[in-house]
Symmetry: C3
Subunit: 341 residues, 3 copies
């Protein structure tokens, strides 16, 4: 598939500076791209790569001037690039229907244009929307709903009573709706609290591989529209993840904690239970959060404090042995002064 | 299903203060509960919710007085609540037997009243007890034992030579008995040490989703009676987890480390290998433990120290930049004094 | 199976000090071993166990003298032991071929002497080498390659476009080739960047259970020859893991970061994206790495600094409250001196 730069500029709504009849057939990073490929320049620190790239065209911000490749000027080059990548990505296979070897209960409802692979198992009362793809080894429990356009990769477990919206993507090995971790301890024995809540996952959420999202103890665990969750993340029972929030790999959110919208938790962050994280909060990698965080601020550290303060603490930490030595020396000097006095 | 408060009081062995003929049909949290529902009050800080709750009855400690809902007085309200939740939870399906499409070796032994779903695979020499439920996608390896009353959720992997006791619950995607991480390095090449030990999981253990419990290198990895392990926890080869211990999500225990009974590891804790953690030790979230810990104490930090000491360290940490500044100023003053002297 | 010590000495290329006609039939740790068993002594701190062990023979370094068991002297006792363990390990089952219930596309290519279990699913264009074992519940995507002698445990997901070399071992529940975590954010909405790269896993790599290795965004994610990766590790898109590197459980490597050869990341380590870790670097458990690390050195801490420096910082940390107190007292003394002056 080849397209002209004129067509690509139209696709991304950009302004072309260069020869619109040049043909391209794929995408690549700015260092790897060759003739016939489109690349992008989103970070000014790569500006010097513009001279040496062999790409035929570069998506870049207005004002970027090139002596080499053609430039398609767009407000958000990375977003424009995502459209070009999607455009050149291989076409999806046409829907295959419920394939032989797929085990779908007669009491389940299945929409149109689905592909349900063999070795999947759909329980009674489940509802699978239109244009859904369910790969082998997927389990969908009783009464659970998989919305239109969802893409469920192999070996995903969706327990009973889970409601999934439209266009949700769930990667391999992820488990939705396992029992929350709740026990009442009596005389040293931990008695299981039956976890009778469910899970609600709204539209356009993406969950990475081997993620776990536990079902609520009484009410629901909720992941709101547009949230994106990376691999190996733990979402405990009755957590609320706000709209368009991002949770990076191996982070964990403890029970009943609520994240606002556009929250970002970096990799390996941990949050205790029963706290509230304000809208737009960013938490730096490996931080531990043990209390509410006010909206719109970045935080870091264990326990997390404002990010700027944490940077200052981190700058002093490696100097601690030296500071201690200075303190000891100073104490001696003061002692000498006192003796003199 | 509706029951009178008199019946509920009998179920939990509590003393009713209120109208025993009132009917209830379910459970909820104290804020969410409405008429016809039972709730609980375990934490004194929610005492003020007692006035506003719309629940028909509240399980609470002796001495709690209510002007609104009926109160059922019990020693351990949370434990009593777990019994009520279980009572109102939907009835389990009757056993389905070995369902068509389940692949059970003719050389495996299967007990009575089991449900073994399609797409499960039970190898030769495996032994499945009575009243066991095995969901789709579960693998049980050669010679492994799944005890009476176990509940094995979809896509669990139980490798060969794993012995699981009675009433064990294993959530989706968990892998029991993968090879431990052991290599002998010779001239820069890592040679695999065959991991020929097994795994023993005793009665009443619960393992969360996507947990990994490795098999022993020579002897067994052991998880003792009543231990509860949350999602995404890593238990390495030859670890011993003591009775009634609790390991919260994303914690990891390295090879040959031994936990006593009633140990609690909070979320994202890490333990090095070959150490001993005493009975009743609690380790705070995100801590790193690199040496033996004496019984009965709480610890925190990286590396872990007594929790109280760590709290004091944490209180000073954010003040480090200020302390450094004070030290510098003090040094100048001392210099000035010395010059004068 | 019984073998003479003479035979065992030959197997490991060692020099026997003792009676070569003694027979052994298995292996065990130095404390657990009984008559008829071989053990090893790799760490001098266990030297005193040599007197009390009941093993028939001990693999030990040249120069180790025993009054009890026979000694087989070898340069690398632990490596020699791994050979003896492998020798006594139970024989593998003969290949079973493509078993009934395995779903292998007619457009896939399958080598000789394979065992492909039921409930596995091999897509069109996939290529399975000779002497491969694929357990139940494994998915191999379109065009992916599984090299000769690979061992793929149950419920592993290998997405499309993944190239796996020879003798690779992948433990249960691991997901290779899930989409990398890449979004272009425009007006608060996160738009998915299609992840069109692949994954390359070279010869003799071992991946633990419930690991995730994401596919590249444009180019490939690469794990080079001989690397060993433990359970629950996260390898993000376009990461490069160098030859013979070791990544311990629950560690995570962010996108486009490159590890040299013989790098060791201990448990729960986290690396940010787009950095380079030099050959032979060791990173201590729970460390957070946020910048390039020079080759051949050990590092620790958050953020990671040279390990020796971190040990010094760690030694001061618990004394921080005391240091603060000393500083306050010193300030008072200086004030008093100034007042006097």
């Amino acid at each position: 598939m080849e397209r002209s730069l004129k067509e690509i500029a139209e696709l991304v709504g950009g302004e072309l500076s260069g020869d619109g009849s040049l043909m391209v057939r794929g995408v690549a990073g700015i260092k790897e791209a060759g003739p016939g490929e489109v690349t992008f320049l989103a970070n000014p620190k790569y500006l010097r790569e513009l001279k040496s790239t062999k790409a035929t065209a570069v998506l870049a911000s207005p004002g970027v001037v090139s002596e080499g490749p053609a430039v398609i000027h767009v407000k958000n080059p990375y977003y424009a690039f995502s459209k070009v990548v999607a455009f050149f990505a291989p076409a999806k296979r046409p829907p295959q229907g419920v394939m032989q070897g797929a085990l779908v209960s007669r009491d389940a409802v299945v929409g149109s244009r689905v592909t349900i692979y063999p070795n999947s198992f759909i329980e009674a009362g489940a509802k699978i929307g239109d244009d859904v793809t369910i790969y082998p080894g997927v389990y969908v429990g009783e009464g659970s709903v998989v919305g239109d356009g969802c893409l469920i990769y192999p070996n995903v477990v969706i327990r009973e009573g889970v409601k999934i919206g439209a266009r949700v993507i769930i990667h391999g090995g992820t488990v939705i709706g396992a029992d929350g971790f709740g026990y009442a301890t009596d005389e040293g024995i931990h008695h299981k609290i039956p976890q009778i809540g469910g899970v609600v996952i709204e539209d356009d959420v993406e969950l990475g591989a081997n993620v776990t999202v536990d079902r609520g103890a009484l009410g629901d665990t909720i992941i709101k529209r547009g949230a994106k969750i990376d691999n190996l993340v733990m979402i405990a029972h009755n957590v609320l993840v706000g709209e368009d929030s991002i949770i990076v790999a191996q982070a964990g959110v403890s029970g009943s904690t609520e994240l606002g919208h556009h929250v970002v938790l970096a990799g390996q962050v941990g949050l205790v239970g029963h706290i509230k994280i304000g809208d737009g909060v960013m938490v730096g990698a490996k931080s531990g959060v043990s209390s509410d965080l006010a909206a719109g601020q970045p935080y870091s550290g264990i326990p997390a404090i404002p990010h700027r303060d944490w940077l200052r603490v981190q700058a002093v930490l490696p100097k601690l042995p030296e500071l201690r030595k200075q303190l000891m020396e100073l104490a001696k000097k003061v002692e000498a002064l006192e003796a003199k006095g």
